[in-house]
Structure formats: structure tokens, C-alpha cells
């Protein structure tokens, strides 16, 4: 893979993570557990779709084929998406939503912290802006992990169930592949192996405070970011996300 190709892949990963998770969170809008949290979750969704726009715009620019952010978001099919499997998992309930968010925010925070040192000026600028938002997301999801984990018997149970289900998707976050490696060598992205200890430590700390058990996982699922595999959920996300553009191709909206 040339450096440009690898960079395009890398930006797609970042952009798709933000887009798909932002989309998932936007499904909560109007259906939150209380008005105040409806607004809070939507704020995070807005941050993420905003980040997706900057990242996909830049990805399109790097690709150099004259595509736009919307071309990338609305005309690729499942196997061309590069988001982590974690972020495409359904909302299910508030527990799944919070666990998914925390597992992702924890990684996203460390990643963006590192990206503010990137040699790629454009990416660095995006990361600096996003990091402020992500810092807040991590604070929000960490607090809710603790609140619900250590809340009532019922909330504890729901959180543990969600964690048991979702944890298998967390391995992919900090496992580097070729593209990660290439970006690291070019000074564009961080060495994921070096982020892993901090990631694991934070998970441990928050779970302890939330009185939740770290699930024992024999095998972690992966394939989202390198395009080998997705879960069946992504197809339905795209069916909704892309409906208008697919039904009326090539129009201005």
C-alpha cells in the first residue's frame, strides 16, 4: 500500500467510526430516558457527525478522485466501510449505549491525544478540535458507567450484561494492523501497542468503581477497521442512512 492509500484508509477508519457511532446515538434523539439526557446524548451525536464530516472531507481530498464527504458517507456499501465493529452495535438500551460509548471514548481519547502530535498538519488540526469534545465524551460515559454500575441491582445487572456482550469488540481497538503500522512509521498515527496499557488501565479503574466484572474473553472479534468483516447491523444502518441518496441518485439535497 502506498502511503497515500494507507492514509486514505486510516482517515476512513477515523471518519467511519465517528459517522457510524454518531448515527447510532442520533437514533436516541426523542427517545432518551429523560429530557436532560436526550439532549446530552444528542450533543455527543452532533460532535461525532461533525468530526465525521471533517475526517471524510479530508479523506476524500487525500484520495484525490473528486469525491465529497457525502459521496463517501452515502454511496459506499458495507464492505467499503472501515469503522470498528464496536460502534455499529445496536443501542439496545441505555446500558449498551453507555458501555459501547465508554469502550470507544476511552480509545478515541488516547488516539486523539496522540494524533495532536501527528506530523500530518491537517489531521493534527482536526484532532486538536476533536480532542476537546472527546474529553467531555469520556467524562460523560465514565460517569454513567459508574452511576449505572453502582446504582441499583437492576441497573448493575443491565450494565454487566451489556459489558459481557460488547467486550468482545474492544480488542480490535488497540490491535495494530498494517495500516496502523504504516501510519505510525510515517509519524502520522500513534503506535497502538503503546496505547493499550493506558486503555486497559482505564477500563480496569472504571469497572472497579462501577463494581462491574471484567468479562473473560477467549476470542476478540475483529475485521471492521481492516474491511475483512462487519456485523449484520451495518447493512441496516446504511439502508437507513443512504435511503434517499440511493432512491434518487445524484441529486442536491
Amino acid at each position: 500500500m502506498t502511503l497515500t492509500e494507507a492514509k486514505f484508509e486510516y482517515l476512513l477508519r477515523l471518519g467511519d467510526n465517528a459517522l457510524i457511532l454518531g448515527h447510532r446515538l442520533s437514533e436516541w434523539c426523542g427517545h432518551g430516558p429523560i429530557l436532560e439526557q436526550d439532549i446530552a446524548i444528542t450533543n455527543i451525536a452532533l460532535d461525532q457527525v461533525g468530526q465525521a464530516r471533517s475526517l471524510l472531507q479530508y479523506a476524500a481530498e487525500v484520495e484525490g478522485k473528486g469525491r465529497s464527504e457525502d459521496d463517501l458517507a452515502y454511496t459506499r456499501d458495507v464492505m467499503q466501510f472501515r469503522n470498528l465493529l464496536l460502534v455499529e452495535q445496536p443501542n439496545e438500551d441505555f446500558a449498551y449505549t453507555i458501555v459501547r460509548q465508554f469502550l470507544f471514548d476511552n480509545f478515541n481519547f488516547l488516539l486523539h491525544q496522540a494524533l495532536t502530535q501527528s506530523k500530518d498538519e491537517h489531521l493534527r488540526a482536526i484532532a486538536e478540535k476533536s480532542l476537546k469534545e472527546i474529553t467531555y465524551h469520556l467524562r460523560y460515559s465514565s460517569e454513567w458507567m459508574i452511576r449505572l454500575g453502582d446504582g441499583t441491582e437492576e441497573s448493575h445487572q443491565k450494565m454487566q450484561t451489556a459489558l459481557d456482550d460488547l467486550f468482545i469488540y474492544s480488542g480490535e481497538l488497540t490491535s495494530p494492523d498494517e495500516v496502523d503500522q504504516q501510519m505510525h512509521e510515517a509519524g502520522i498515527g500513534p503506535d497502538l501497542d503503546r496505547l493499550k496499557p493506558a486503555y486497559d488501565q482505564k477500563v480496569k479503574d472504571i469497572l472497579a468503581e462501577a463494581t462491574l466484572q471484567l468479562p473473560e474473553v477467549k476470542y476478540m472479534q475483529s475485521g471492521g477497521k481492516d474491511g475483512r468483516m462487519h456485523t449484520e447491523h451495518l447493512g441496516f444502518i446504511l439502508a437507513e442512512l443512504q435511503f434517499v441518496q440511493r432512491a434518487y441518485p445524484g441529486m442536491e439535497w
Partner: protein, 96 residues
């Protein structure tokens, strides 16, 4: 079903920029103070309305009562000597 333990009501005060005082923005519900701050941030500063937030549980606010307002506030009405316009100075005197 919920056992009807509602989140308490909080009053939110926002400083719109440094140099100005906090001003009452409205109220919201939150389970605790930290959450009240975050909810206030999400609800009342979505358009850059603030640089600082105060929250206080509504039940902790003591307010003066309107039926005492005459005795509380009217006595200040005739103390005109507290205002600069009470004092007559010739126009020639500047910077006063």
C-alpha cells in the same frame, strides 16, 4: 415501574463572559451536582452562552416573600439623597 423518586430540581446560573456576573438561566433536573453541571452545559450553553456555570438545588434557595415587599423595598423609595442627582452643583464644575 419507577418508584417515583424523581431527580431534584436545580437552578442554573450562567456567566456569559468573564467580567459579567452569573445570571439565572432557568432550571433542570439532575440526580446530583456533577450531573446538574453537565446537564446545564448541555441544555443552556449549546450556543456559546457561557464560560462558567453555577447550579444550586432549588429547595436550598430562600426567597423573600412578595407580601413583605412593601416593608422590604418601599422604604428605599424616599432616600433620594443616596443618588447623585440629589445634589445640586453648577454646570461649570466638571468631572463630578
Amino acid at each position: 415501574m419507577s418508584n417515583k423518586k424523581n431527580w431534584p430540581l436545580w437552578e442554573v446560573f450562567i456567566r456569559s463572559k468573564n467580567g459579567l456576573s452569573h445570571k439565572h438561566a432557568g432550571s433542570l433536573h439532575a440526580a446530583d451536582a456533577e450531573m446538574a453541571i453537565e446537564n446545564a452545559r448541555d441544555v443552556y450553553t449549546r450556543r456559546n452562552e457561557g464560560v462558567s456555570i453555577w447550579v444550586v438545588e432549588s429547595q436550598h434557595i430562600t426567597a423573600s416573600s412578595p407580601n413583605q415587599s412593601e416593608s422590604l423595598f418601599d422604604p428605599a423609595n424616599d432616600k433620594v439623597y443616596r443618588h447623585p442627582t440629589f445634589y445640586n452643583l453648577p454646570d461649570e464644575v466638571k468631572h463630578m
